[in-house]
Amino acid sequence: MDTLSLDTFDIRAYLREDLLPHFMCPGCGHGIALRALLWAVHERGIPKDRLAVVCGIGCSGRVGAYIDANTYHTTHGRPLAFATGLALARPDLEVVVITGDGDCLAIGGNHLIHACRRNLNMTCLMLNNEIYGMTGGQVSPTTGGGRLTSTTPYGNAEPTFDACALAIAAGAGFVGRGMTLQLPALKTLIGEGLAHPGFSFIEAISDCTEIFGRKNDLGSAPEIILRQKSGMRPDTYGNIVDRPFQAKAMRIGVLGRNDRPEYGAAYRAAVAARIAP
Protein backbone atom coordinates (compact mmCIF):
# COMPACT_ATOMS: atom_id res chain seq x y z
CA MET A 1 0.00 0.00 0.00
CA ASP A 2 1.74 3.15 -1.17
CA THR A 3 -0.39 5.39 1.04
CA LEU A 4 0.85 3.73 4.21
CA SER A 5 3.93 5.06 5.94
CA LEU A 6 6.70 2.61 6.78
CA ASP A 7 7.28 4.28 10.13
CA THR A 8 5.39 1.91 12.39
CA PHE A 9 3.61 3.05 15.49
CA ASP A 10 1.97 0.28 17.49
CA ILE A 11 0.39 1.75 20.59
CA ARG A 12 0.61 -1.61 22.37
CA ALA A 13 4.36 -1.17 22.70
CA TYR A 14 3.58 1.72 25.05
CA LEU A 15 0.70 0.16 27.01
CA ARG A 16 0.44 -2.12 30.01
CA GLU A 17 -1.57 -4.66 28.10
CA ASP A 18 -2.39 -6.75 31.17
CA LEU A 19 -4.41 -3.82 32.56
CA LEU A 20 -6.58 -3.61 29.48
CA PRO A 21 -9.44 -3.25 28.78
CA HIS A 22 -9.17 0.08 30.58
CA PHE A 23 -11.81 1.27 33.01
CA MET A 24 -13.10 4.16 30.89
CA CYS A 25 -16.72 4.10 29.74
CA PRO A 26 -17.63 3.06 26.18
CA GLY A 27 -16.93 5.95 23.83
CA CYS A 28 -14.86 7.97 26.33
CA GLY A 29 -12.48 10.30 24.49
CA HIS A 30 -9.64 9.86 26.99
CA GLY A 31 -8.42 6.70 25.24
CA ILE A 32 -8.10 8.61 21.97
CA ALA A 33 -6.19 11.41 23.69
CA LEU A 34 -3.85 8.82 25.21
CA ARG A 35 -3.20 7.44 21.73
CA ALA A 36 -2.36 10.97 20.51
CA LEU A 37 0.12 11.43 23.37
CA LEU A 38 1.83 8.07 22.86
CA TRP A 39 1.96 8.58 19.12
CA ALA A 40 3.66 11.95 19.64
CA VAL A 41 6.09 10.35 22.11
CA HIS A 42 6.85 7.68 19.51
CA GLU A 43 7.42 10.25 16.78
CA ARG A 44 9.72 12.29 18.97
CA GLY A 45 11.69 9.09 19.65
CA ILE A 46 11.50 9.47 23.43
CA PRO A 47 12.56 6.19 25.10
CA LYS A 48 10.09 4.83 27.63
CA ASP A 49 12.71 5.01 30.39
CA ARG A 50 13.02 8.76 29.85
CA LEU A 51 9.29 9.46 29.79
CA ALA A 52 7.68 10.40 33.12
CA VAL A 53 3.92 10.82 33.18
CA VAL A 54 2.35 12.51 36.20
CA CYS A 55 -1.41 12.27 36.69
CA GLY A 56 -3.89 13.73 39.14
CA ILE A 57 -7.23 12.34 40.24
CA GLY A 58 -10.26 11.67 38.12
CA CYS A 59 -10.93 9.84 34.89
CA SER A 60 -7.95 11.69 33.39
CA GLY A 61 -5.81 10.60 36.33
CA ARG A 62 -6.40 6.97 35.52
CA VAL A 63 -5.26 7.42 31.92
CA GLY A 64 -1.61 7.43 32.96
CA ALA A 65 -1.92 4.08 34.72
CA TYR A 66 -2.08 2.31 31.36
CA ILE A 67 1.19 3.73 30.04
CA ASP A 68 4.22 1.43 30.18
CA ALA A 69 6.68 4.13 31.31
CA ASN A 70 7.48 5.98 34.52
CA THR A 71 4.04 6.97 35.81
CA TYR A 72 3.07 8.81 38.93
CA HIS A 73 -0.49 9.01 40.28
CA THR A 74 -0.69 12.01 42.60
CA THR A 75 -3.29 13.88 44.63
CA HIS A 76 -6.28 15.78 43.28
CA GLY A 77 -5.26 18.92 41.43
CA ARG A 78 -1.57 18.62 42.32
CA PRO A 79 0.06 16.78 39.39
CA LEU A 80 1.68 20.04 38.25
CA ALA A 81 3.16 20.59 41.70
CA PHE A 82 4.59 17.05 41.82
CA ALA A 83 5.82 17.39 38.23
CA THR A 84 7.54 20.69 39.07
CA GLY A 85 9.65 18.93 41.66
CA LEU A 86 10.32 16.04 39.33
CA ALA A 87 11.35 18.25 36.41
CA LEU A 88 13.63 20.35 38.62
CA ALA A 89 15.35 17.34 40.15
CA ARG A 90 15.58 15.29 36.96
CA PRO A 91 15.96 17.63 33.97
CA ASP A 92 16.94 14.59 31.89
CA LEU A 93 13.35 13.28 32.01
CA GLU A 94 10.60 14.24 29.58
CA VAL A 95 7.89 15.18 32.05
CA VAL A 96 4.29 14.99 30.85
CA VAL A 97 1.33 15.88 33.04
CA ILE A 98 -2.07 14.40 32.21
CA THR A 99 -4.84 16.24 34.00
CA GLY A 100 -8.53 16.92 33.63
CA ASP A 101 -10.54 20.11 33.43
CA GLY A 102 -11.61 19.94 37.06
CA ASP A 103 -8.25 18.69 38.27
CA CYS A 104 -6.32 21.38 36.38
CA LEU A 105 -8.58 24.43 36.44
CA ALA A 106 -10.58 24.18 39.67
CA ILE A 107 -8.75 22.16 42.28
CA GLY A 108 -5.32 22.73 40.77
CA GLY A 109 -5.98 26.14 39.22
CA ASN A 110 -3.40 27.81 41.41
CA HIS A 111 -0.75 25.29 40.44
CA LEU A 112 -1.55 25.82 36.77
CA ILE A 113 -1.02 29.57 36.79
CA HIS A 114 2.24 29.27 38.67
CA ALA A 115 3.48 26.45 36.45
CA CYS A 116 2.76 28.73 33.47
CA ARG A 117 4.51 31.62 35.21
CA ARG A 118 7.66 29.61 35.98
CA ASN A 119 7.86 28.19 32.46
CA LEU A 120 9.55 24.99 33.59
CA ASN A 121 10.18 22.47 30.81
CA MET A 122 7.23 20.07 30.87
CA THR A 123 4.11 19.33 28.87
CA CYS A 124 0.68 19.61 30.44
CA LEU A 125 -2.06 17.74 28.57
CA MET A 126 -5.46 18.79 29.90
CA LEU A 127 -8.28 16.44 28.88
CA ASN A 128 -11.37 18.63 28.78
CA ASN A 129 -14.55 16.62 29.01
CA GLU A 130 -16.58 19.43 30.61
CA ILE A 131 -17.35 17.50 33.77
CA TYR A 132 -16.04 15.75 36.88
CA GLY A 133 -16.78 12.27 35.55
CA MET A 134 -15.36 9.94 38.17
CA THR A 135 -16.53 11.74 41.28
CA GLY A 136 -20.17 11.74 40.23
CA GLY A 137 -20.77 14.18 37.40
CA GLN A 138 -20.41 17.53 39.17
CA VAL A 139 -20.14 20.82 37.29
CA SER A 140 -16.58 21.76 36.29
CA PRO A 141 -15.04 25.12 35.29
CA THR A 142 -15.42 24.24 31.60
CA THR A 143 -19.01 22.98 31.71
CA GLY A 144 -21.00 24.90 29.13
CA GLY A 145 -23.79 27.33 29.94
CA GLY A 146 -27.15 25.68 30.53
CA ARG A 147 -25.69 22.17 30.77
CA LEU A 148 -27.20 19.71 33.21
CA THR A 149 -24.92 18.05 35.75
CA SER A 150 -25.52 16.41 39.10
CA THR A 151 -24.82 19.73 40.84
CA THR A 152 -26.62 21.95 38.31
CA PRO A 153 -30.02 20.23 37.97
CA TYR A 154 -31.54 23.45 36.53
CA GLY A 155 -28.74 24.09 34.06
CA ASN A 156 -25.31 25.58 34.60
CA ALA A 157 -25.37 29.37 35.10
CA GLU A 158 -21.65 29.74 35.83
CA PRO A 159 -19.36 31.46 33.32
CA THR A 160 -17.06 29.09 31.49
CA PHE A 161 -13.29 29.15 31.64
CA ASP A 162 -11.19 29.32 28.48
CA ALA A 163 -8.20 27.33 29.72
CA CYS A 164 -5.92 28.29 26.84
CA ALA A 165 -6.55 32.01 27.33
CA LEU A 166 -5.70 31.54 30.99
CA ALA A 167 -2.46 29.73 30.18
CA ILE A 168 -1.40 32.39 27.65
CA ALA A 169 -2.13 35.18 30.11
CA ALA A 170 -0.14 33.39 32.82
CA GLY A 171 2.86 33.18 30.52
CA ALA A 172 3.01 29.57 29.33
CA GLY A 173 5.65 28.95 26.67
CA PHE A 174 3.47 27.00 24.27
CA VAL A 175 -0.33 26.87 24.26
CA GLY A 176 -2.52 24.85 21.92
CA ARG A 177 -5.88 23.21 21.66
CA GLY A 178 -6.83 20.10 19.74
CA MET A 179 -9.71 17.71 19.61
CA THR A 180 -9.77 13.95 19.86
CA LEU A 181 -11.86 13.81 16.69
CA GLN A 182 -8.85 15.08 14.72
CA LEU A 183 -6.30 12.66 16.11
CA PRO A 184 -3.33 13.35 13.76
CA ALA A 185 -3.65 17.10 14.37
CA LEU A 186 -3.76 16.58 18.12
CA LYS A 187 -0.73 14.29 17.86
CA THR A 188 1.22 16.97 15.97
CA LEU A 189 0.23 19.58 18.52
CA ILE A 190 1.39 17.42 21.43
CA GLY A 191 4.62 16.71 19.55
CA GLU A 192 5.27 20.44 19.24
CA GLY A 193 4.51 20.83 22.92
CA LEU A 194 7.02 18.10 23.81
CA ALA A 195 9.62 19.78 21.61
CA HIS A 196 9.12 23.24 23.12
CA PRO A 197 11.77 24.06 25.78
CA GLY A 198 9.43 25.49 28.38
CA PHE A 199 5.97 24.97 29.79
CA SER A 200 3.60 23.63 27.14
CA PHE A 201 -0.12 23.64 27.82
CA ILE A 202 -2.31 21.59 25.49
CA GLU A 203 -6.04 21.34 25.88
CA ALA A 204 -7.46 18.18 24.31
CA ILE A 205 -11.19 18.34 23.74
CA SER A 206 -12.44 14.97 24.98
CA ASP A 207 -15.90 13.59 25.57
CA CYS A 208 -17.82 12.18 28.49
CA THR A 209 -20.43 9.95 26.89
CA GLU A 210 -21.91 8.20 29.88
CA ILE A 211 -22.22 10.94 32.47
CA PHE A 212 -22.22 14.29 30.64
CA GLY A 213 -23.60 12.97 27.33
CA ARG A 214 -26.43 10.99 28.86
CA LYS A 215 -27.48 13.71 31.28
CA ASN A 216 -27.59 16.28 28.48
CA ASP A 217 -29.19 13.94 25.96
CA LEU A 218 -26.33 14.34 23.48
CA GLY A 219 -26.86 10.98 21.81
CA SER A 220 -24.54 8.07 21.12
CA ALA A 221 -20.73 8.14 21.28
CA PRO A 222 -20.23 8.79 17.52
CA GLU A 223 -22.76 11.66 17.63
CA ILE A 224 -21.01 13.22 20.60
CA ILE A 225 -17.53 13.02 19.08
CA LEU A 226 -18.79 14.47 15.79
CA ARG A 227 -20.25 17.43 17.68
CA GLN A 228 -16.71 18.52 18.50
CA LYS A 229 -16.60 19.79 14.94
CA SER A 230 -20.12 21.00 14.50
CA GLY A 231 -21.22 23.26 17.27
CA MET A 232 -21.15 21.59 20.67
CA ARG A 233 -18.04 23.27 22.00
CA PRO A 234 -18.34 26.63 20.16
CA ASP A 235 -21.69 26.86 21.92
CA THR A 236 -19.94 26.09 25.16
CA TYR A 237 -17.52 28.92 24.71
CA GLY A 238 -20.00 31.30 23.08
CA ASN A 239 -22.90 31.20 25.51
CA ILE A 240 -20.99 32.36 28.50
CA VAL A 241 -22.09 35.06 30.84
CA ASP A 242 -18.97 37.17 31.24
CA ARG A 243 -18.02 39.36 28.28
CA PRO A 244 -14.24 39.31 28.83
CA PHE A 245 -14.17 35.56 28.38
CA GLN A 246 -16.48 35.47 25.43
CA ALA A 247 -15.37 34.03 22.13
CA LYS A 248 -17.33 33.56 18.92
CA ALA A 249 -16.15 30.01 18.46
CA MET A 250 -13.58 27.72 19.93
CA ARG A 251 -10.20 28.12 18.30
CA ILE A 252 -8.13 25.06 17.45
CA GLY A 253 -4.41 24.76 16.89
CA VAL A 254 -1.40 26.62 18.25
CA LEU A 255 -2.81 29.56 20.19
CA GLY A 256 0.24 31.04 21.80
CA ARG A 257 4.03 30.90 21.86
CA ASN A 258 6.23 32.69 24.33
CA ASP A 259 9.99 32.17 24.17
CA ARG A 260 10.74 33.30 27.70
CA PRO A 261 13.74 31.70 29.50
CA GLU A 262 13.07 28.22 30.79
CA TYR A 263 12.97 28.18 34.59
CA GLY A 264 14.98 25.00 35.24
CA ALA A 265 17.96 26.14 33.18
CA ALA A 266 17.77 29.66 34.64
CA TYR A 267 17.64 28.27 38.17
CA ARG A 268 20.59 25.93 37.63
CA ALA A 269 22.59 28.80 36.09
CA ALA A 270 21.79 31.03 39.06
CA VAL A 271 22.87 28.33 41.51
CA ALA A 272 26.05 27.62 39.56
CA ALA A 273 26.93 31.32 39.44
CA ARG A 274 26.51 31.55 43.20
CA ILE A 275 28.50 28.42 44.05
CA ALA A 276 31.30 28.78 41.52
CA PRO A 277 34.11 31.12 42.58
Partner: protein, 294 residues
Amino acid sequence: MADTETSPPTNVLIVGVGGQGVIMVSKVLAALCQLHGLQVKQSEVHGMAKRGGSVFSHVRFGAQVWSPIIPHGETDILVALEWSEGLRWLDAMRRDSGTFIADTQQIVPPIAFRDRRPGARSGYAPQSPAAVLEMVGTGFALDATRVAAGLGNTRIANTVLLGALSTALPFPVEGWISVLRDFVPPHTVAVNLKAFQAGRDWVESGSRPAEEAARPAGARVAVAARGHRLEITEAWCKGCDICVKMCPERCLRLDERGLAELANPAACTGCRVCEWLCPDFAVRVLDGLGQPVA
Protein backbone atom coordinates in the same frame (compact mmCIF):
# COMPACT_ATOMS: atom_id res chain seq x y z
CA MET B 1 -37.91 -9.61 62.65
CA ALA B 2 -38.51 -6.72 65.03
CA ASP B 3 -42.06 -6.90 66.29
CA THR B 4 -41.75 -5.15 69.63
CA GLU B 5 -40.04 -1.93 70.47
CA THR B 6 -37.42 -3.70 72.54
CA SER B 7 -36.21 -6.13 69.88
CA PRO B 8 -33.07 -5.07 68.03
CA PRO B 9 -33.27 -3.93 64.41
CA THR B 10 -32.49 -6.17 61.45
CA ASN B 11 -29.18 -5.24 59.82
CA VAL B 12 -28.58 -5.61 56.08
CA LEU B 13 -25.21 -4.61 54.62
CA ILE B 14 -25.04 -4.20 50.86
CA VAL B 15 -21.57 -3.95 49.30
CA GLY B 16 -20.13 -3.77 45.81
CA VAL B 17 -18.16 -1.50 43.55
CA GLY B 18 -19.18 1.78 41.95
CA GLY B 19 -21.76 1.56 39.19
CA GLN B 20 -23.27 -1.78 40.15
CA GLY B 21 -26.37 -0.50 41.89
CA VAL B 22 -25.59 -0.95 45.59
CA ILE B 23 -27.54 2.19 46.44
CA MET B 24 -30.47 1.07 44.28
CA VAL B 25 -30.75 -2.24 46.18
CA SER B 26 -30.65 -0.46 49.53
CA LYS B 27 -33.21 2.13 48.48
CA VAL B 28 -35.67 -0.54 47.32
CA LEU B 29 -35.25 -2.36 50.63
CA ALA B 30 -35.64 0.86 52.62
CA ALA B 31 -38.79 1.85 50.71
CA LEU B 32 -40.28 -1.60 51.28
CA CYS B 33 -39.63 -1.43 55.02
CA GLN B 34 -41.31 1.99 55.15
CA LEU B 35 -44.36 0.52 53.43
CA HIS B 36 -44.54 -2.01 56.24
CA GLY B 37 -44.53 0.77 58.81
CA LEU B 38 -41.05 0.03 60.11
CA GLN B 39 -38.41 2.57 61.02
CA VAL B 40 -35.54 2.50 58.55
CA LYS B 41 -32.13 4.10 58.64
CA GLN B 42 -29.75 3.91 55.70
CA SER B 43 -26.25 5.24 55.35
CA GLU B 44 -23.78 4.77 52.57
CA VAL B 45 -20.30 5.61 51.40
CA HIS B 46 -19.89 6.38 47.72
CA GLY B 47 -18.55 9.25 45.61
CA MET B 48 -14.93 8.61 44.65
CA ALA B 49 -16.12 5.07 44.11
CA LYS B 50 -17.76 6.05 40.85
CA ARG B 51 -16.95 3.23 38.45
CA GLY B 52 -14.79 0.72 40.18
CA GLY B 53 -14.16 1.72 43.78
CA SER B 54 -15.58 0.21 46.94
CA VAL B 55 -19.17 1.10 47.88
CA PHE B 56 -21.18 0.00 50.90
CA SER B 57 -24.59 0.78 52.25
CA HIS B 58 -26.01 0.02 55.69
CA VAL B 59 -29.76 -0.58 55.96
CA ARG B 60 -31.21 -1.05 59.44
CA PHE B 61 -34.91 -1.55 60.05
CA GLY B 62 -37.18 -2.47 62.92
CA ALA B 63 -39.73 -0.99 65.34
CA GLN B 64 -37.12 1.44 66.65
CA VAL B 65 -33.76 2.21 65.04
CA TRP B 66 -31.40 4.65 66.73
CA SER B 67 -28.12 4.52 64.80
CA PRO B 68 -27.70 4.34 61.02
CA ILE B 69 -24.47 2.36 61.40
CA ILE B 70 -24.47 -1.41 61.86
CA PRO B 71 -22.27 -2.40 64.84
CA HIS B 72 -19.30 -4.51 63.78
CA GLY B 73 -20.13 -8.20 63.65
CA GLU B 74 -23.90 -7.70 63.84
CA THR B 75 -24.82 -7.81 60.16
CA ASP B 76 -27.70 -10.23 59.68
CA ILE B 77 -27.57 -10.30 55.89
CA LEU B 78 -24.57 -9.37 53.75
CA VAL B 79 -25.36 -8.80 50.07
CA ALA B 80 -22.24 -8.57 47.88
CA LEU B 81 -22.58 -7.44 44.29
CA GLU B 82 -18.93 -8.22 43.66
CA TRP B 83 -17.02 -11.24 44.94
CA SER B 84 -13.98 -9.72 46.66
CA GLU B 85 -16.09 -6.93 48.18
CA GLY B 86 -18.13 -9.69 49.82
CA LEU B 87 -14.96 -11.21 51.26
CA ARG B 88 -13.83 -7.78 52.46
CA TRP B 89 -16.93 -7.45 54.62
CA LEU B 90 -17.25 -11.06 55.83
CA ASP B 91 -16.21 -10.24 59.38
CA ALA B 92 -18.97 -7.64 59.64
CA MET B 93 -21.45 -10.55 59.70
CA ARG B 94 -22.85 -12.44 62.67
CA ARG B 95 -20.65 -15.51 62.89
CA ASP B 96 -23.36 -18.10 63.45
CA SER B 97 -26.64 -16.77 62.12
CA GLY B 98 -25.60 -14.43 59.31
CA THR B 99 -26.70 -14.87 55.71
CA PHE B 100 -24.22 -14.26 52.89
CA ILE B 101 -25.55 -13.55 49.39
CA ALA B 102 -22.88 -12.86 46.77
CA ASP B 103 -22.37 -12.52 43.07
CA THR B 104 -19.35 -14.59 42.01
CA GLN B 105 -18.60 -12.04 39.31
CA GLN B 106 -15.05 -10.74 39.69
CA ILE B 107 -14.27 -7.10 38.92
CA VAL B 108 -10.49 -7.12 39.15
CA PRO B 109 -9.02 -3.73 40.14
CA PRO B 110 -5.76 -2.53 38.54
CA ILE B 111 -4.04 -2.72 41.94
CA ALA B 112 -4.29 -6.52 41.70
CA PHE B 113 -1.76 -6.38 38.86
CA ARG B 114 1.31 -5.03 40.61
CA ASP B 115 3.47 -7.56 38.75
CA ARG B 116 3.27 -6.48 35.13
CA ARG B 117 5.08 -9.44 33.55
CA PRO B 118 2.89 -11.47 31.21
CA GLY B 119 1.35 -14.46 32.93
CA ALA B 120 2.04 -13.12 36.43
CA ARG B 121 -0.42 -14.03 39.18
CA SER B 122 -2.96 -11.37 39.98
CA GLY B 123 -3.47 -10.22 43.54
CA TYR B 124 -7.21 -10.84 43.41
CA ALA B 125 -8.81 -12.81 46.25
CA PRO B 126 -7.95 -16.48 45.55
CA GLN B 127 -10.67 -18.02 47.76
CA SER B 128 -13.16 -20.17 45.86
CA PRO B 129 -16.91 -19.71 46.41
CA ALA B 130 -17.18 -23.21 47.88
CA ALA B 131 -14.48 -22.48 50.48
CA VAL B 132 -16.16 -19.22 51.49
CA LEU B 133 -19.62 -20.76 51.82
CA GLU B 134 -18.09 -23.26 54.29
CA MET B 135 -17.23 -20.33 56.56
CA VAL B 136 -20.67 -18.69 56.83
CA GLY B 137 -23.94 -19.78 58.39
CA THR B 138 -26.16 -19.52 55.34
CA GLY B 139 -24.51 -18.69 52.04
CA PHE B 140 -25.55 -18.21 48.46
CA ALA B 141 -22.99 -17.62 45.72
CA LEU B 142 -24.59 -17.14 42.34
CA ASP B 143 -23.25 -15.78 39.08
CA ALA B 144 -25.86 -13.03 39.00
CA THR B 145 -24.09 -11.18 36.22
CA ARG B 146 -24.33 -14.20 33.96
CA VAL B 147 -28.00 -14.66 34.88
CA ALA B 148 -28.54 -11.00 34.01
CA ALA B 149 -26.64 -11.39 30.74
CA GLY B 150 -28.95 -14.27 29.90
CA LEU B 151 -31.86 -11.86 30.33
CA GLY B 152 -30.17 -9.43 27.97
CA ASN B 153 -28.76 -6.75 30.30
CA THR B 154 -25.82 -7.24 32.67
CA ARG B 155 -26.77 -4.06 34.53
CA ILE B 156 -29.69 -5.83 36.22
CA ALA B 157 -27.40 -8.21 38.14
CA ASN B 158 -28.25 -6.17 41.24
CA THR B 159 -31.94 -6.97 40.76
CA VAL B 160 -31.10 -10.70 40.52
CA LEU B 161 -29.41 -10.40 43.92
CA LEU B 162 -32.35 -8.37 45.21
CA GLY B 163 -34.51 -11.37 44.28
CA ALA B 164 -32.18 -13.64 46.25
CA LEU B 165 -32.30 -11.18 49.18
CA SER B 166 -36.11 -11.18 49.11
CA THR B 167 -36.12 -14.89 50.03
CA ALA B 168 -34.13 -14.16 53.18
CA LEU B 169 -36.54 -11.51 54.55
CA PRO B 170 -40.11 -12.13 55.72
CA PHE B 171 -41.84 -9.56 53.50
CA PRO B 172 -44.48 -10.83 51.01
CA VAL B 173 -43.27 -10.96 47.41
CA GLU B 174 -46.05 -8.66 46.14
CA GLY B 175 -44.60 -5.78 48.18
CA TRP B 176 -41.16 -6.27 46.68
CA ILE B 177 -42.55 -6.31 43.17
CA SER B 178 -44.63 -3.16 43.63
CA VAL B 179 -41.69 -1.21 45.13
CA LEU B 180 -39.38 -2.42 42.37
CA ARG B 181 -41.92 -1.46 39.73
CA ASP B 182 -42.10 2.09 41.12
CA PHE B 183 -38.35 2.40 41.55
CA VAL B 184 -36.78 1.37 38.24
CA PRO B 185 -37.07 3.44 35.02
CA PRO B 186 -40.36 2.64 33.25
CA HIS B 187 -38.81 1.03 30.16
CA THR B 188 -36.83 -1.44 32.29
CA VAL B 189 -39.69 -2.63 34.50
CA ALA B 190 -40.29 -5.86 32.59
CA VAL B 191 -36.67 -7.00 32.51
CA ASN B 192 -36.14 -6.02 36.18
CA LEU B 193 -39.14 -8.09 37.26
CA LYS B 194 -37.74 -11.05 35.28
CA ALA B 195 -34.37 -10.61 36.95
CA PHE B 196 -36.00 -10.40 40.39
CA GLN B 197 -37.84 -13.66 39.74
CA ALA B 198 -34.65 -15.29 38.40
CA GLY B 199 -32.90 -14.46 41.68
CA ARG B 200 -35.76 -15.97 43.72
CA ASP B 201 -35.84 -19.06 41.48
CA TRP B 202 -32.11 -19.53 41.86
CA VAL B 203 -32.32 -19.63 45.65
CA GLU B 204 -35.42 -21.85 45.67
CA SER B 205 -33.91 -24.35 43.25
CA GLY B 206 -30.96 -24.72 45.65
CA SER B 207 -28.32 -24.15 42.97
CA ARG B 208 -24.65 -24.49 43.78
CA PRO B 209 -21.89 -21.95 43.09
CA ALA B 210 -21.41 -21.19 39.43
CA GLU B 211 -18.16 -22.07 37.72
CA GLU B 212 -15.64 -19.43 36.69
CA ALA B 213 -17.03 -16.96 34.20
CA ALA B 214 -15.32 -17.25 30.82
CA ARG B 215 -13.31 -14.27 29.58
CA PRO B 216 -14.32 -12.90 26.20
CA ALA B 217 -12.38 -14.17 23.22
CA GLY B 218 -9.10 -12.59 22.18
CA ALA B 219 -8.35 -11.02 18.86
CA ARG B 220 -10.29 -11.65 15.67
CA VAL B 221 -8.42 -10.89 12.45
CA ALA B 222 -10.19 -10.23 9.16
CA VAL B 223 -8.28 -9.96 5.89
CA ALA B 224 -9.41 -7.04 3.75
CA ALA B 225 -9.40 -7.00 -0.04
CA ARG B 226 -6.30 -4.84 -0.40
CA GLY B 227 -4.11 -7.29 1.46
CA HIS B 228 -4.03 -5.64 4.89
CA ARG B 229 -5.69 -7.12 7.95
CA LEU B 230 -8.02 -5.63 10.51
CA GLU B 231 -7.48 -7.00 14.00
CA ILE B 232 -10.24 -6.45 16.55
CA THR B 233 -9.47 -7.45 20.14
CA GLU B 234 -12.90 -8.51 21.34
CA ALA B 235 -11.89 -8.59 24.99
CA TRP B 236 -11.21 -4.85 24.83
CA CYS B 237 -14.07 -3.69 22.58
CA LYS B 238 -16.85 -1.95 24.50
CA GLY B 239 -19.20 -1.54 21.56
CA CYS B 240 -19.20 2.26 21.63
CA ASP B 241 -20.04 2.34 17.89
CA ILE B 242 -17.44 5.01 17.06
CA CYS B 243 -15.53 2.89 14.52
CA VAL B 244 -18.77 1.78 12.87
CA LYS B 245 -20.12 5.30 12.38
CA MET B 246 -16.79 6.96 11.56
CA CYS B 247 -15.65 4.47 8.91
CA PRO B 248 -15.76 6.37 5.60
CA GLU B 249 -16.59 3.15 3.76
CA ARG B 250 -19.14 1.97 6.34
CA CYS B 251 -17.57 -1.47 6.30
CA LEU B 252 -17.75 -2.21 10.03
CA ARG B 253 -20.74 -3.17 12.14
CA LEU B 254 -21.58 -4.32 15.64
CA ASP B 255 -22.30 -8.04 15.81
CA GLU B 256 -25.07 -9.65 17.86
CA ARG B 257 -22.91 -9.39 21.01
CA GLY B 258 -22.41 -5.65 20.45
CA LEU B 259 -18.75 -6.01 19.44
CA ALA B 260 -17.20 -4.47 16.34
CA GLU B 261 -16.53 -6.69 13.32
CA LEU B 262 -15.45 -6.13 9.72
CA ALA B 263 -18.65 -6.79 7.80
CA ASN B 264 -17.47 -5.83 4.32
CA PRO B 265 -13.76 -6.67 3.86
CA ALA B 266 -13.94 -5.79 0.17
CA ALA B 267 -14.75 -2.15 0.97
CA CYS B 268 -12.06 -1.62 3.61
CA THR B 269 -9.27 0.64 2.34
CA GLY B 270 -7.09 0.42 5.44
CA CYS B 271 -7.40 4.16 6.15
CA ARG B 272 -7.04 3.45 9.92
CA VAL B 273 -9.70 5.91 11.07
CA CYS B 274 -11.17 3.05 13.11
CA GLU B 275 -7.81 2.39 14.73
CA TRP B 276 -7.21 6.05 15.50
CA LEU B 277 -10.60 6.76 16.99
CA CYS B 278 -11.00 3.54 18.97
CA PRO B 279 -10.90 4.74 22.61
CA ASP B 280 -10.20 1.19 23.77
CA PHE B 281 -7.23 0.35 21.49
CA ALA B 282 -9.23 -2.66 20.30
CA VAL B 283 -8.77 -2.09 16.55
CA ARG B 284 -5.44 -2.48 14.79
CA VAL B 285 -4.73 -2.28 11.07
CA LEU B 286 -1.94 -4.70 10.13
CA ASP B 287 -0.15 -4.95 6.83
CA GLY B 288 -0.22 -8.11 4.71
CA LEU B 289 2.50 -9.70 6.83
CA GLY B 290 0.64 -9.07 10.06
CA GLN B 291 2.82 -6.14 11.11
CA PRO B 292 1.22 -2.94 12.43
CA VAL B 293 1.22 -0.01 10.05
CA ALA B 294 1.95 3.50 11.25
